[in-house]
C-alpha cells in the first residue's frame, strides 16, 4: 500500500509539475509577439517538460507542401536547424502532418515510417519519438517532436501533455505570424510615406523660386504614395527660364525612382548645354540607356525668353498644352511640335517650336491621369472639360490649377484617382512693383505724370498698345477729377497709386472734392457722335474692373487691368 501510495504520489507530483510548467509556458507564450522568441520558448520548454534529449519544431510551408526544421534543441541541433526539410507524408513527422494525428513510437527501428537516414546524417540515435501536429483553426501550422525520453519510454500521458502544449504553441505561432505580417504592412506604409517625402524634396519648391516674373501653380495627387509625374523649373540665367513636365510610364515606386534619376539629369544637362534641343536629345539618349523593360517617358519642356516674350517648346509624346493668350483672353490647345516619347530610340531628332509668350500669357500642362480620370458612370473627364474649366480672367497660376482640379474632383466624385494626376501652370507675370504720386489738380501736371507712368509701365515688357491705353485711362480719370470733382480748381490734391501685381495692374485715384454718385454715371452712347463724355467710356473700355467708391470727402476710384 505504502509503495503504491508513494508511487502514486510521485506520479501526481510529476503531473502537477508538468501542469504548472504548461501554465508557465502558456503565460510565456502570451507575453511576446516575436515569432523567433516564441519558437525558442516552445522548444526549450517542450524538451524540459517532456524530459527529452532533443526536440525539433517543424513549420509547415504551404507552397512546397513540406516541413522545415525551424528550431532544434539537443546535441546535433546545428545539423538540423533550417537544414532539414521533410515532405508531407514522409517519415514520422511527415505522417503526423499529413494525418494530423499525434504519434508515439518507442521503437523507431521497427517502424516503417521512421527515416533512419536522418540519424545517419546527424549521428543522433533515435530511441523514442513523440510527435504532434500544431493546428490552428483547422490549419496545419507545423509539427513538434520530442526525442529520447531521458527516464525511459514515452507514455500516453506524455502524449496528452504534449498535445495540450502543441495546441497552445499553434495559437502563439499563428498570432505572432499575423502580427509580423501586420508589422510588415505597417513598415511598408511607413517607408512609402518616407519615400513620398523624399520624392517631394526633388520637386521644386515654388516659394523659393528665384524668378519673380514667373507665376507658377501646381496641383498633384499620386495614385499611390509616390508618383511618376514630375516637373521642374529653374532660371538658366537672369532672362531665361527652363521648365520641364513629364510622366514616366507606370506608377508607384519604380516610376518614382526613375523620375528622381531623370530630374537630376535634367538640371545637369540644362546647365551644360543651355539649349533646349540638345538637352532633350541628350536626355533621350541617357534615358534610353538606363531604362528597363521599355520604360518610356512623355514630356513637355521649354525655355522662356523673358526679354523676347517668347517660349521655345518641345513636346515628346505628351498631351497638348493649354495656352492662354492674354490679349485675346482665350485658351487654346497647342501641341508644341509633336515628337515621340523619350527613352524609346537612342537617336531621335527632336523638333521644338517657338511661340509668343508675353506678359499675362499662361501655359497649363497636365498628366494623362487628369484626362483619363473617370466618373462613376465610367466617362472620362477629357481634354474638353479641362479646357472648359480654365478661367479667363487674370487669376493666378495657382488659382487656375486649383479651379481645374476642383472641376475634376467634382466630376469624378472622388479624390482617389487610378493614375497620378498633376496640373502645372506657368505664367509670364509682372514683377511686383508700385508707383505712387500726389499731384495738384492742374491740367498742366498731366503731361509729366503720363511720362512718369509710361516709364514705370515700360519696365514690365507690356505691349505698346496696352501701355498707351492704360495711360489714356488714367489721364481720363484725372481729367474728370479736375473738371468735375474740383470744378476746375487747380490747387487741390489728387493721390494716385499704380500697383503691378502678378497678373494685373491695379490703379487707385483718390480725390477730396465732390463725391461721385455712381448711380448717376452715364456711359456715352458711342453711336451718337457728339463731343464730351467720352472719357468715362474710355475708362470702361480699357480697364477690366472699374469701381467708383464715394467717400465722406471725395471719391476713391479703383481700376484693374488684367494682364
Amino acid at each position: 500500500m505504502a509503495g503504491k501510495n508513494t508511487s502514486e504520489i510521485s506520479a501526481l507530483k510529476q503531473k502537477i509539475k508538468r501542469l504548472s510548467s504548461l501554465i508557465r509556458i502558456s503565460s510565456l507564450l502570451n507575453s511576446t509577439l516575436d515569432l523567433d522568441e516564441i519558437l525558442n520558448i516552445i522548444m526549450l520548454s517542450s524538451k524540459k517538460v517532456m524530459d527529452a534529449e532533443a526536440a525539433t519544431l517543424f513549420l509547415y510551408n504551404e507552397k512546397e507542401h513540406a516541413l522545415t526544421a525551424q528550431i532544434a534543441y539537443g546535441k546535433v541541433r546545428h545539423k538540423i536547424k533550417g537544414k532539414l526539410t521533410i515532405a508531407v507524408g514522409q517519415g514520422i513527422a511527415g505522417t503526423v502532418a499529413e494525418q494530423r494525428e499525434p504519434v508515439l513510437v518507442n521503437d523507431p527501428g521497427n517502424d516503417s515510417r521512421f527515416m533512419c537516414r536522418i540519424d545517419k546524417k546527424t549521428g543522433f540515435v533515435t530511441k523514442s519519438i513523440i510527435c504532434v501536429p500544431l493546428i490552428y483553426q483547422d490549419k496545419l501550422v507545423g509539427v513538434a517532436q520530442a526525442l529520447n525520453k531521458k527516464s525511459g519510454r514515452f507514455t500516453e500521458d506524455d502524449l496528452d501533455v504534449f498535445c495540450t502544449f502543441a495546441n497552445q504553441a499553434a495559437v502563439a505561432i499563428e498570432s505572432a505570424r499575423l502580427h509580423r505580417e501586420e508589422m510588415d504592412v505597417q513598415r511598408i506604409e511607413q517607408e512609402l510615406n518616407l519615400a513620398q517625402l523624399i520624392q517631394n524634396s526633388f520637386l521644386p519648391h515654388i516659394d523659393n523660386m528665384e524668378c519673380p516674373e514667373m507665376d507658377i501653380g501646381i496641383r498633384k495627387t499620386a495614385a499611390f504614395n509616390v508618383s511618376g509625374d514630375f516637373f521642374d523649373i529653374f532660371p538658366l540665367d537672369d532672362r531665361q527660364i527652363f521648365f520641364i513636365f513629364g510622366d514616366v510610364a507606370g506608377k508607384g515606386i519604380p516610376a518614382a525612382l526613375f523620375m528622381a534619376n531623370l530630374l537630376s539629369r535634367v538640371r545637369y544637362l540644362a546647365f551644360r548645354y543651355r539649349c533646349l534641343d540638345q538637352v532633350v536629345s541628350n536626355l533621350n539618349q541617357e534615358i534610353h540607356r538606363i531604362s528597363q523593360r521599355g520604360m518610356f517617358t512623355t514630356l513637355v519642356a521649354g525655355v522662356v525668353e523673358m526679354d523676347k516674350g517668347t517660349v521655345q517648346l518641345v513636346n515628346c509624346g505628351h498631351l497638348p498644352v493649354s495656352f492662354y493668350d492674354a490679349e485675346k483672353k482665350k485658351w487654346v490647345s497647342v501641341i508644341g511640335a509633336g515628337n515621340i516619347p523619350i527613352g524609346i530610340f537612342p537617336q531621335v531628332d527632336f523638333k521644338s517650336e517657338n511661340a509668343s509668350f508675353r506678359k499675362g500669357d499662361m501655359l497649363m500642362i497636365f498628366s494623362d491621369g487628369a484626362v483619363e480620370a473617370k466618373n462613376r458612370k465610367g466617362h472620362e473627364f477629357g481634354l474638353k472639360r479641362i479646357n472648359a474649366a480654365l478661367p479667363r480672367d487674370g487669376v493666378s497660376a495657382q488659382e487656375i490649377v486649383d479651379r481645374v482640379y476642383s472641376g475634376l474632383k467634382e466630376y469624378c466624385g472622388t479624390e482617389r484617382f487610378k493614375d497620378d494626376v498633376t496640373f502645372f501652370a506657368l505664367g509670364n507675370c509682372l514683377r511686383p512693383g508700385k508707383f505712387e504720386r500726389r499731384i495738384c489738380s492742374s491740367p498742366i501736371m498731366l503731361r509729366e505724370l503720363r511720362k512718369e507712368l509710361e516709364l514705370f509701365l515700360e519696365r514690365y515688357n507690356l505691349s505698346e498698345l496696352l501701355i498707351s491705353r492704360m495711360i489714356l485711362a488714367v489721364d481720363e480719370a484725372l481729367t474728370n477729377v479736375i473738371k468735375y470733382s474740383y470744378s476746375g480748381n487747380t490747387t487741390m490734391p489728387i493721390d494716385m497709386k499704380v500697383e503691378a501685381r502678378k497678373r494685373s495692374i491695379e490703379i487707385t485715384i483718390r480725390d477730396y472734392g465732390i463725391p461721385v454718385d455712381p448711380t448717376r454715371l452715364r456711359v456715352k452712347d458711342l453711336e451718337n457722335v457728339s463731343p464730351g463724355g467720352l472719357g468715362l467710356n474710355f475708362i470702361y473700355l480699357i480697364m477690366d474692373r472699374v469701381k467708383f467708391d464715394p467717400q465722406d470727402q471725395g471719391t476713391l476710384l479703383e481700376m484693374v487691368k488684367f494682364i
Partner: protein, 112 residues
C-alpha cells in the same frame, strides 16, 4: 503742343504736334473754330501725324469741329492718323466718321 497753319490749294491745313490733352486742347479748339469761321476757308484739314498723345478732350475738340463745319456747310477732315492716335479713334468708334487723308500729298489733288 505746337500748331502750324498752312494753305494747300483751297484747303487750310492745321498741323498739330506734341500732346493734345485737357491742358492743350483749348488752344486747338480755338484754332479750329477760328479757321472754320474764316471766310475763304472751304475745307479745314487737321494733320495729326506728329501727335504723340491725344485724349478724349482732343477727340471732343475734333468732333466739335466736324459739327460746326456741317452747320457752316464747310468741309472738315483729318490727315495722317498714326498708330497711337488711330487706336484712340477706334476706342471711340470714330474712325469712319471723319474723312481721313493718309498722306499730305493727296491734299494737292483736285477734288474729283
Amino acid at each position: 503742343m505746337e500748331i502750324k497753319v498752312k494753305k494747300i490749294k483751297d484747303k487750310t491745313l492745321i498741323q498739330v504736334s506734341g500732346t493734345v490733352d485737357l491742358y492743350s486742347s483749348p488752344d486747338l479748339r480755338e484754332e479750329i473754330q477760328g479757321q472754320l469761321k474764316a471766310k475763304n476757308n472751304h475745307e479745314v484739314v487737321v494733320d495729326l501725324g506728329e501727335v504723340d498723345y491725344i485724349d478724349s478732350s482732343g477727340i471732343a475738340t475734333l468732333v466739335e469741329g466736324l459739327q460746326v463745319s456741317g452747320k457752316m456747310d464747310k468741309k472738315f477732315s483729318l490727315a495722317r492718323l498714326n498708330k497711337k492716335v488711330r487706336d484712340v479713334f477706334s476706342l471711340a468708334r470714330l474712325e469712319t466718321v471723319f474723312t481721313i487723308y493718309d498722306d499730305l500729298a493727296r491734299l494737292n489733288e483736285n477734288p474729283d
